[in-house]
């Protein structure tokens, strides 16, 4: 007999409640609306409970566990809510490792549930047993193995809390099969107390004062905005703050969108492929206010040349990031939004630094991002500009890793937050397409464009099944340069053009490939056709794969060569 499901009531009869039912209920209690999962032996009880429960969340069956975890990351990145993953024990769980590491590096809230062999055989190398706790300890914010069903609901609740508060990150919950099979009528206590985990949200007002004082004395101040601004939902406050004090703003790769890219005060992205102006601003500034960035080496270049003239202030919710790579004069531990609000309340003296702004503006004019526009063939940078134009700059853009990623970062001017989804810290090829699936599911009404390379797309393209099955209108733009372009670029510049294993001469026919999945495929290889094709593709109600044949020899410029300082960029001008 099927019980009529009231909202949030599950169709499970009390006397046959299993651990798996308890688990499904815990997900509902956590307000989960989407689960990315793949079944297997150790999670069969969970999938059976799912089948019986008529749960009020959707389950997305990606075709590889790597697809699950990147989709969950994409979902988390654009919604701010934790992405949820279920995978089976052993190979199911180990297939998630790349994505868990990626989420850890880029601070994405993801809660991962893995099946495990029964507690009675753990440690005996049982069929499909993997020590997922041991494996994921260095790549998770926290992890649990459930050894007592009574604790399961509390652990699930804790896992969501840990993943999504403080500095977000992935949390793994490993559930042995006998726990999810166990029959129970118990009521559960979900109250938890984590005395060792109390993230500091409100910054110390004394530190805010110090920062305000430094600001009122600075002649060449600069803001550096990272993803911390996005996680704290502080883009609005950042804009008010920057405009009030007329502070130029540069962002990290992951911080794109935290400050409007078209704003007068924006210098664009900094770092290895950042703008010349942004990198010189870091070199010349006398006060660098870092908000929620972790001074990654791709941003800093050679440390000894990084912001050599600046007093460094660093606002971060994770105290361990402050002073880790760069000596910091004014540490501020706290949430970016709280810190910015307090800074705005302090009302520091507004100083005139017109000269500084003028010098930056003339750099912007004299040394803009540039590229060679080919006459007939498609220049990849120009193509990104077209994507920007045709989507009115309003798309959610996910990327893979490589040249196309850097061009997307450079030429798509993100004006609003949470529309940029890319793998920064780990640089994971195969990320972009499944991440777009998660992003589209999280924000169903938005245009989601996935800009991928011909190399990286081939790492996770099996997820074409999912966009077909769910009719997700993701637009995949393959920047097809018949190469592992970024590798090719480094070989050209630093290995005397010895193109070792970086040319993809035998790519599949991406159109036929898409069509075999039932997805529309389009090829474009002439500049003149690009605007029309993009218009058609973006207005098409359904998924499309666009194979864009671009100039193969293009390189990403400007560039800070490995080992060089940010002020020593190459390829600044034609």
């Amino acid at each position: 007999m099927k019980v009529e499901a009231k909202p949030k009531e599950l169709a499970v009869e009390k006397k046959t409640t299993t651990g798996a039912d308890v688990f499904i209920r815990s997900l509902v209690d956590a307000d989960v609306d989407t689960v990315f999962g793949y079944p297997g032996g150790a999670v069969l009880p969970i999938y059976d409970a799912l089948y019986r429960a008529n749960a009020p969340f959707q389950h997305i069956l990606c075709r590889h566990e790597q697809g699950l975890i990147h989709a969950a990351e994409g979902y988390a990145r654009v919604t701010g809510k934790p992405g949820v993953v279920i995978a089976t024990s052993g190979p199911g769980a180990t297939n998630l490792i790349t994505g868990i590491t990626d989420a850890m590096m880029d601070s994405l809230p993801v809660v991962i549930f893995t099946g495990q062999v029964g507690t009675g055989v753990i440690g005996t190398d049982a069929f499909q047993e993997a020590d997922i706790i041991g494996i994921t300890t260095p790549i998770t914010k926290y992890n649990y193995q459930v050894t007592d069903l009574k604790q399961l609901p509390r652990i699930v609740k804790e896992a969501f809390h840990i993943a999504s508060t403080g500095r977000p990150g992935p949390v793994v919950v490993d559930i042995p099969k006998n726990i999810s099979q166990e029959i129970t009528v118990d009521e559960f206590d979900t109250a938890f107390h984590l005395p060792g985990y109390q993230p500091t949200v409100k910054p110390n007002p004394l530190q805010i004062r110090k920062l305000a004082d430094a600001l009122s004395r600075s002649e060449r101040p600069l803001l550096l905005a990272g993803a911390g601004v996005l996680f704290a939902d502080a883009a609005k406050e950042l804009k008010v703050f920057a405009e009030k004090y007329q502070l130029p703003v540069t962002t990290t790769l992951l911080g794109l969108g935290s400050f409007p890219g078209t704003n007068e005060l924006s210098l664009g992205m900094a770092g290895m492929h950042g703008t010349y102006t942004a990198n010189m601003a870091i070199y010349e500034c006398d006060l660098l206010i870092n908000i929620g960035a972790r001074f990654d080496d791709r941003l800093t270049g050679a440390i000894k040349h990084f912001a050599p003239n600046a007093k460094v202030a660093h606002i971060d919710i994770d105290p361990a990031e402050i002073g880790k790579n760069i000596k910091t004069k004014i540490p501020v531990v706290g949430d970016a939004k709280e810190a910015l609000k307090q800074l705005l309340d302090v009302n520091a003296k507004i100083t005139n630094h017109d000269e500084w702004l003028q010098s930056l503006n003339s750099k912007k004019e004299d040394y803009p991002l540039w590229y060679d526009r080919s006459e007939e063939l498609i220049s990849p940078q120009w193509l990104i500009e077209q994507v920007y134009e045709v989507s009115n700059g309003e798309a959610i853009v996910t990327t893979d890793v490589g040249q196309h990623q850097m061009w997307a970062a450079q030429f798509y001017k993100f004006d609003s937050p949470d529309k940029w989804v890319t793998s920064g810290g780990l640089g994971t090829m195969g990320f972009g397409f499944p991440a777009a699936i998660g992003a589209q599911l999280g924000r169903p009404d938005e245009l989601v464009v996935s800009i991928v390379g011909d190399g990286g797309f081939q790492m996770t393209l099996q997820e074409l099944s999912v966009i077909k099955e769910r009719n997700l209108p993701v637009k995949v733009i393959i920047i097809n340069n018949e190469a592992l372009g970024m590798v090719r670029q480094w070989q050209e510049k630093f290995y005397e053009e010895r193109y070792s294993e970086s040319l993809l001469t035998e790519n599949p026919d991406f159109i036929k490939l898409a069509e075999s999945y039932g997805v529309k495929g389009v090829r474009v290889d002439k500049e003149e056709n690009v605007p029309r094709v993009l218009e058609d593709v973006f207005s098409y109600d359904g998924p499309v794969v666009v194979d864009c044949r671009v100039v193969k020899r293009e390189c990403v410029f400007p560039m800070v060569a490995p080992g060089a300082g940010n002020h020593e960029m190459i390829g600044v001008t034609k």
Binding site: G196, P319, G323
Partner: protein, 172 residues
Amino acid sequence: MKRIITATVQNRSGVLNRVTGMMVKRQFNIESISVGPSETEGISKMTFVVEVSDDQKLEQLTKQLNKQIDVLKVTDITDKAIVARELALIKVGSSSQNRAEIQGVITPFRASVIDVSKDSLIIQVTGNPEKIDALIDLLRPYGIKELTRTGVTAFQRGRQPENVQEMNALIF
């Protein structure tokens, strides 16, 4: 520089692995670790002796320890007035001829013989690491067959005098 750092931690499974894994991954040089229950049920105390290159590294270490979800409190007690103790068991070759001689060597260290066989002795000694090092050096000529040390465990003293440097010089 050598530092003694203590951490009180929640006794959840995997906590030791998490903490030591972090230290290995971030290239902190651990000389010794000792772990055991504390006065409060469910809470353990860890004592680390680490070698760090500079203050920045040291700050990173305490921050990374504090960041662990199960870690409740981290204290660098190196510059405090502390008592630090380690236990060592040392098996030395010995015959009836030199047994008395060895006894003479270990007595000033307040070490004791806890096992005797035809050709060996097991000596137990407790104290600060330097004292143990010294005893081991003295016993070496007799042939050390086996040696095990627990690693340092340490406490802050009840009273913290003004000048602690001198006092701690005795420890390292």
